[in-house]
Symmetry: C3
Subunit: 384 residues, 3 copies
Amino acid sequence: MSTDRVGASVMDGLVLTDHHCHGVAPAALDRAGFEALATESSWPPPAGTSTFDSQLGFAIRRWCAPLLDLEPHADPEDYLARRRELGPAEVNRRLLRAAGIGTFLVDTGCRPEELTTPKETAELAGGEAREVVRLEHVAERVAAKGTEPPSFAADFAEALAEAARSAAGLKSVAAYRCGLDFDPSPPSARDVERAAARWLGDEARAAGTAPRLEDPVLVRHLLWTAVELGKPLQFHTGYGDPDADLLRCNPLHLAGWLRATRGTGVPMMLLHCYPYHREAGYLAQAFPQVYVDVGLAVNHTGARSAAVIAESLELTPFHKALFSTDALGLPELHYLGAVLFRRGFGRAAARWINDGEWSRRDAERVAGLIGFRNAARVYGLEGP
Amino acid sequence: MSTDRVGASVMDGLVLTDHHCHGVAPAALDRAGFEALATESSWPPPAGTSTFDSQLGFAIRRWCAPLLDLEPHADPEDYLARRRELGPAEVNRRLLRAAGIGTFLVDTGCRPEELTTPKETAELAGGEAREVVRLEHVAERVAAKGTEPPSFAADFAEALAEAARSAAGLKSVAAYRCGLDFDPSPPSARDVERAAARWLGDEARAAGTAPRLEDPVLVRHLLWTAVELGKPLQFHTGYGDPDADLLRCNPLHLAGWLRATRGTGVPMMLLHCYPYHREAGYLAQAFPQVYVDVGLAVNHTGARSAAVIAESLELTPFHKALFSTDALGLPELHYLGAVLFRRGFGRAAARWINDGEWSRRDAERVAGLIGFRNAARVYGLEGP
Amino acid sequence: MSTDRVGASVMDGLVLTDHHCHGVAPAALDRAGFEALATESSWPPPAGTSTFDSQLGFAIRRWCAPLLDLEPHADPEDYLARRRELGPAEVNRRLLRAAGIGTFLVDTGCRPEELTTPKETAELAGGEAREVVRLEHVAERVAAKGTEPPSFAADFAEALAEAARSAAGLKSVAAYRCGLDFDPSPPSARDVERAAARWLGDEARAAGTAPRLEDPVLVRHLLWTAVELGKPLQFHTGYGDPDADLLRCNPLHLAGWLRATRGTGVPMMLLHCYPYHREAGYLAQAFPQVYVDVGLAVNHTGARSAAVIAESLELTPFHKALFSTDALGLPELHYLGAVLFRRGFGRAAARWINDGEWSRRDAERVAGLIGFRNAARVYGLEGP
């Protein structure tokens, strides 16, 4: 049987849990707005070029066009025209519903005012949603509401505990704020107070805006406070927008942190990881509390995502890999993330079956582990 | 249809632009001379072994032998004997002409006295050539001709502007001279003068030779002077000969430089990139002015080059990837670079077509973008 | 012909030399003990999971089960039950004998008291064995027997010369002890004496145990003493257990060491290398005295090992790649290492043959080079 047919049969009927995504844009998007959400760049491409000319752009035209009643590989113009014609609500509904994702763990810390809430996202999809709380976002809200250096630690702990009460997990963007090569030890109360004083100082106060939390002492303090709550802690690792220095997003920089927190038993969820997904696989094998995904990369590498998924499963134990989309803004990304994961894992597994390396039964079991069972176990979600 | 036939049909009739190569050796080469040009090593291989035992060596025997009227996979001895028999002029002509490269952008800063000029190279190939001017080479010629620390900056600016007048682009080997992890800010005039004084100092003067420019302050000064000219600026990145420290050739070290120069609009061309071609793809997606190739690696990885090309097209937008050979000395490298690119991109695209991920029309369009259109747009070359 | 049949025919009759492995456990293993030897982790996996759920676990069930009279893909429980039933001596004999390894170079410096000796290992396999002496182990024995700072250098030199007399090669675990980014220059006698004084100081003496040698000055001293003996020197590089910081195990950190020792002609054997096997391939091409393997990774990546082997042969000259298993404790690892290498190299070569890139004759010759001839040449072993 062809690998595609074997792969499809292995993945048949699998309802996924997306352990890391964002909401969709409820408003209509013009071409520039759409293209900006289909790249990790912070700037438009050069004159005369388009972000549609990328693996992600080709995958959108291939896989999403039919859901909008167009032929596969529809031209970008036609695709966007049809999108406008249907309107954002219908487009969001169609694509989210077709993804076959039953549970969404939604990070609410990135541009929440422009995106659907977890509840809205789930309703569009006909699924369930749980929140993932971003540490730095909570700290910045504490600062915006007003806090003093001596009380910042207590105020943050209270706000985080409150925000986390019904959340499935927590998330840190330390990678963007100070790099993953931070000192893994917990800072002293005195150091935290001093760092808070710098952060909340006169200049910020005068500006009247919530300052951006980038101080490594405070980032570490947030992380150690989060560990206290015992919930799975997600880390952005690997590539993302050009804000971050990719060399400092290598998850291997977390080795000291992982040694320091191993005894706590708190699951550490390494997100994205590309192009360090092999390194992440090593961490997932070496440290009992480490889990990995290649969510963002699956969408952006499009036709190449099967290869990336296969690489990510070299060292990663199969009880340590999770499905995610990291979709933000475009429901195309939720849908494609699911399609490409099914195709990619399916194709890898089918090749191993056809080559006589794996049994079909094992392949189906691993599909279930990565697709939803590992997430259910680690985040304590109810089964479908 | 087989992937090879689909791939060949996608690439059919494509006349390439090689946006980074060197000339060929006009003189006859003995075995040691030939082997030395078929490896990035600076030393002969161990006794009893041959550089022919490599992917590149196998590819030369496979693909170049028939152009010299031999069977594919001819023995190295027979290959070199036939090469001697035909003589360098005929071998250079046959291989260059068969490459299907219409335009050569030739870096003239590496051993120019041993290689054909851009004009000679183009004539052998029946194509066009444009020069790429190497910054460090210009600076070293300025020093050799005589300059003083206070006037070095002006003398270099004048010499570079003169050299660049008819050039298609500029090139830096900062990777070899001080590593890509240089401070990205422009040095002050005073710092440049001081660094020039050290470089041009008594010792160098006494030696009576053009000193090698390795000072990071001067390297940065060269780069910022080059940016003023507005022409595309090529950077050696990734592997090359063992002179450089490969860890410091990771193009991610350029992130600060790319942030600092984004506003200038000067295209930054990351050459080779291997084994950091995925990292380079991220930079090409993240920064509007960044372009990439995997030229050198395509030749040296031979039968594996299709895989390297496919990896390089994971994150790189298709308007940001370029074809190059980085061929130097051996016309085999110009020819093979073209053959392996056609086969490698063709095979990758054919697989995506056969798997239903890409349309054939898109594949043909992307082949044209990478093959010559992106180079034409970025370097302002006339179309074929 | 199918790639598998072509691959099998290329590898037909090849008797391998494993240039880096360890002994097997002569005692019976319970489930926890078996699982601990089937992962690079130092800790058990999370509750409810098993190290059998990994590429290595799947490969054991697939390939080793039939040698214990079970069906391929036997359940872990059944596999371990049958293993207990047969007893360790029979299991060790069956698996080692089936590996088709004629010569074992056995590192005796890791838990020797729990493993078979080189002689015992060879007898179980019906092959030959030679020892590989671990520098740090010898130094720690010297310290345990009693030495003084001023005499340490001489005592170590004498002990190493004695241990190395009949050894095939030497090995360093500098990667684990201080990282590969050590200063490559030889330390002065005075620095060595001072470092030895710190290492052998009162505290260690009071504890009455052989201290662990981690001082970078001493590690460098061991290495330079080893170079004097002229035997091939193996380095752990790339991943391994979580003791080491993987970022500092990147073999590229050895570039300075390789430059400093090139003139000595001592072969430098880079072991494992994953996920830096492409970087290692560059070093093997660039430096005449550098050799590489991907032994450990072949076992742990199981169904993906063909891809890893193919990647490792991009830049590595074919006279510079060696076969190894890095098997330790489980005879499954010796057997699987051989099976997966035969399948993986065979499949890669078969694809290149079928695609018209390599000739079959060349493929068979390269199989022999990697399989045993390169090891015979470098270690001065007698041919089969």
